[in-house]
Symmetry: C2
Subunit: 224 residues, 2 copies
């Protein structure tokens, strides 16, 4: 019993890195961009993707892997917009593992897309610790969550290549200091762009979409 | 190296249950109520506690153990209101463990309080899996997070003895269906009270405070 438990623990850890490496190799070979969106439950990750459809579809069509503990709600929202999407159920786990992502990824219509967004399980802590083979992590923080979150959950912001400050249409009704939040992000990670987004009004979607397009270009220009 | 890793893993798991049992025995012996508040980052857990001070102080004074990955921000907020409080830093971990909680608990001025609130690390998944010896878990969900969260993160709502739907002052600015959210909570757990709270206006704090007071009474009336 003890021996078996040990083996499983080690296999899982090793396997995650192996599957992440397989995914990374596949993405490189296809010059395909994969972004790993991480944020709290209800931080606006799915809405950001919904609102990115109009801007990106004609330029860089994308597919989505929707991670959740349970339900297919989020996949249905993107399917309704004709985005190729699969739902990944973590089965109680607090993060997505690389093996599940890889298996779902290879079954997407990869010839038809330039970008794959992975929406991780809603959680600001654990998903930041697990490599799923993505090109970059993107932190999504809603302005309803408070400006101190980058300091309280620094790993995500340290790992991220960009951050989205979402739900800014609610700013008039909140005590949220955008400048202080940006300072807190810079304190943890001085180099990442921070996008001000109000998905319900469309504000900021273009700047975010342009950044995604730049990442597509960088992916294509990278040595294979 | 391998052997050492195995030992640590098993010790930690066993130790968590042991420390939780020690905490539970201490609470019973003192007829002290301990509630474990669990919710996403920025769901309003600290504000709920701040706003509970006026109602509860004269009836059932409380102390707080503030859990966070990093910073002492939340403890400072409660300290400013003269609430006995300690900050528990999880050191990167996504949840509080029973040992840390126990050590902090015994150093609180327990003779002076009827209730200890533990504010867990902001995360809707992992903290629900770890027993810290509490009498009950309380789920805190902000209406900015979306009404489907009880279905997407069912373990927390299944484990909880009560739920707080916070930030309801923002409802006029959101597409959030309170009735649907209540139905979703009932689908996961038919028996728990759900408190509508707008901490900024004080709405719902009294009903929540009354429930806490009932739990204090039940704790006192329980066989030791």
């Amino acid at each position: 019993m003890t021996v078996r438990a040990i083996k499983v623990y080690q296999d899982l850890m090793g396997a995650n890195e192996e599957w992440a490496a397989k995914t990374r190799a596949l993405l490189r070979q296809r010059s395909l961009l994969m972004l790993n969106l991480i944020g709290s439950p209800g931080s606006g990750k799915t809405t950001l993707l919904e609102k990115s459809v109009d801007y990106l579809r004609s330029r860089h069509p994308f597919a989505v892997l929707e991670g959740d503990v349970e339900t297919t709600n989020d996949a249905e929202r993107l399917h309704a917009l004709d985005v190729p999407v699969s739902q990944l159920l973590s089965g109680g786990s607090c993060h997505l593992e690389a093996k599940l992502v890889h298996h779902a990824l290879v079954e997407l219509p990869l010839d038809d897309v330039d970008v794959v967004f992975v929406e991780n399980v809603g959680n600001m802590v654990c998903p930041a610790e697990f490599d799923i083979g993505e090109m970059a992590k993107v932190a999504v923080l809603s302005v309803t969550e408070g400006e101190d979150k980058p300091l309280k959950y620094p790993l995500l912001f340290r790992e991220a290549k960009a951050a989205v400050l979402s739900k800014q249409d609610l700013l008039p009704h909140l005590n949220f200091d955008v400048a202080a939040c940006r300072r807190n992000i810079r304190e943890v990670n001085g180099n990442i762009p921070v996008f001000d987004v109000a998905a319900t009004t469309g504000e900021g979607i273009e700047a975010w979409g342009e950044w995604v397009a730049e990442q597509v270009e960088q992916t294509r220009n990278r040595e294979r």
